[in-house]
């Protein structure tokens, strides 16, 4: 091995014996030719007990087939082979004291198999160098464990963030709704005053006109031909004013104006009922009334885009928070109107099912691509251009329906349209006691 005469063969041998790692030399049949102190200390057998026996006699824990293969390949190829603690943590069944925890456990080992030649350069056998990697392994395993914990924490945080996002979305929306409600209440109050006197005045005007026309009729009847000839300017005035038409048209004019005023009145009322500033309470509500008032509120947005077909079934009032359910209807209807193109059609179905009621909003719009169908209820998920949608509508609708112990589902076929379906139970399980008997529109 070395030409340096100063280092004797004995020195080298004692060094090999004393080194703080396991050293074995085996022949082709795996018989032990040499074993050092490390092996004796850890196996509890003296070198004399080990040498001369096969590896498998003295170390029965060694997998024989695998070990023989390893040794054969090293002999054949005259090359190194290696096994690490990750592959075979405890090749030799040695104990080890953990320096940190003091716990006694199995020793983790790396093992190198290397070819050993005799003085003539022929193959003498295979050397095994076994190193104690318990510290490294312990550290590594601890790190892995910590990583796992971190991963767990991370996913818990992700869950928490998702919940926060949902809560924030809900908060945003309910703040928005509260603001709209306040605005609606203010507007309603301000508008109701002028509507009040204008309506009343139009009615008074109608009565006045009836009296006026009666008076005119009386005058007409009283005036004879002679009188008419004496005052030709009267006939001229009558023609110029198109009196006959005017008289006929005034009725229509008044009727139309009254209708218009009724509509304004209803819109203001719907706006108030829709926003429901005063009641965030569970109550029995007629979903059809809710759908109608919601439709009135967004009629402007829908009427030019789609035809709305109501196929209301026979459903009974359900226990719900009317204003919240209206928000769901609003979101579904707005989405449907955004989805449809020319010849848009939105069908609203309702009916009983499963001891509850369902409402479906079906459109013949562009549909939802398959790959995002399961994402549409996520907060902040939107396909609309910036500024068009907050990405909150459906996620909020979903959480509202879930809060009502119901289900919100979607069926959609790209190019054919979508069907959103909300199912709600008749009564809420935990608020049964608070159910009021009053039936109100939502």
């Amino acid at each position: 091995m070395t030409d340096n005469k100063a280092i004797s063969r004995e020195t080298l041998e004692s060094m090999l014996k004393a080194i703080n790692m396991g050293v074995l030399l085996v022949d082709h049949d795996c018989k032990v030719l040499f074993s050092n102190h490390f092996m004796s200390i850890n196996s509890g057998r003296s070198a004399e007990e080990l040498v001369g026996r096969t590896l498998f006699e003295v170390f029965p824990e060694l997998p024989e087939v695998w070990t023989r293969q390893k040794i054969n390949s090293v002999v054949t190829l005259q090359n190194f082979a290696f096994t690490s603690w990750q592959q075979r943590p405890h090749l030799f069944n040695f104990e080890s004291t953990r320096p940190i925890s003091g716990l006694v456990g199995h020793m983790y080992q790396n093992c190198t198999f290397f070819p050993v030649q005799d003085a003539d350069g022929g193959s003498l056998g295979v050397g095994l160098a076994i190193s104690d990697t318990t510290d490294t392994a312990a550290r590594q395993l601890e790190l892995t464990h910590l990583n796992e914990l971190l991963e767990e924490e991370k996913s818990a945080q992700a869950l928490l963030i998702a919940r926060l996002e949902e809560a924030q979305a809900q908060l945003l929306q309910s703040e928005k709704m509260a603001a709209i409600g306040q605005l609606a209440a203010g507007v309603a109050h301000e508008i109701n005053n002028p509507i009040g006197f204008v309506c009343s005045n139009v009615n008074s005007l109608r009565r006045y006109l009836v009296d006026l026309f009666a008076l005119l009729d009386a005058y007409e009847q009283a005036s004879d031909e002679k009188h008419a000839q004496a005052h030709p300017e009267l006939a001229a005035m009558r023609d110029k004013a198109d009196y006959d038409f005017m008289r006929q048209d005034i009725d229509e004019l008044i009727v139309e104006s009254v209708e218009g005023l009724d509509r304004v009145t209803r819109i203001v009322k719907d706006l108030r009922e829709f926003s429901h500033v005063d009641s965030y309470e569970w109550q029995l509500a007629d979903l059809h009334k809710g759908l109608d008032s919601t439709l009135n509120v967004i009629w402007n947005e829908i009427k030019f885009k789609a035809q709305v077909i109501k196929r209301y079934g026979d459903i009974e009032p359900i226990e719900c928070m009317g204003s919240q359910i209206n928000q769901v209807f609003l979101n579904l209807l707005i989405n449907a109107s955004h989805a449809v193109g020319v010849d848009g059609e939105i069908i609203i179905n309702s009916g009983r099912e499963d001891g509850g009621v369902f409402v479906e909003v079906v459109d013949n719009g562009h549909g939802i691509p398959l790959d995002i169908q399961n994402r549409i209820f996520e907060p902040f998920f939107t396909t609309k251009p910036v500024g068009m949608g907050s990405g909150l509508g459906l996620s909020l609708s979903y959480s509202i329906i879930v809060k009502h112990h119901g289900r919100l589902t979607v069926e959609s076929e790209p190019g054919r349209g979508s069907c959103f379906r909300a199912w709600l139970p008749l009564r809420q399980p935990q608020v049964q006691a608070h159910a009021t008997s009053a039936v109100e529109g939502c």
Binding site: A185, A188, H189, N192, N193, P194, I195, G196, F197, V198, C199, S200, N201, N203, S204, L261, T265, R272, D278
Partner: protein
């Protein structure tokens, strides 16, 4: 007192609203009725008129600056419990209305925008009720008449 006299009986009705257009439209609506109308655009003015005239019925807006409807009607009710008070509310503030109704100082409330027939009917009912109440509380006066 015979029926002819009864039908010719005129009532004094006071209308109170800070918005004159409302007063005018109500005045037009009630023009054909056997009412002597008094108009006031504030609570203070209404109380002044109340001191000067015997008033049968008051229709009063709920929301007015300085003195609101409920405050005015509560005061009126204290001075003359026979005066029929009707509150006109621009928005249905249910808690205020329920309070007013249960305290007994208003007879009815009407929400704006009102329906003309409903308002007239309410006034008729109120005045009818007043007759009954006055007869019950002061039967001698009737006999002496």
């Amino acid at each position: 007192m015979n029926t002819t006299e009864l039908s010719e009986k005129r009532y004094t009705v006071m209308l109170v609203d800070d918005e004159e257009s409302i007063l005018n439209s109500l005045r037009r609506l009630l023009r054909g009725k056997p009412y002597d109308l008094l108009l006031a655009t504030s609570g203070a003015q209404a109380l002044n008129l109340f001191e000067l005239h015997p008033i049968d019925l008051i229709v009063c807006d709920a929301r007015m600056p300085f003195m609101d409807g409920p405050t005015l009607l509560r005061e009126v009710h204290k001075r003359d419990p026979h005066c029929m008070n009707i509150l006109l509310t621009g928005y249905a503030d249910m808690s205020m209305i329920t309070q007013a109704l249960s305290d007994g100082y208003i007879f009815r409330y009407i929400s704006k925008p009102w329906k003309d027939e409903e308002l007239q009917l309410t006034l008729d009912e109120a005045l009818e009720m007043q007759c009954v109440l006055r007869e019950r509380d002061n039967p001698k006066k009737l006999i002496s008449e």
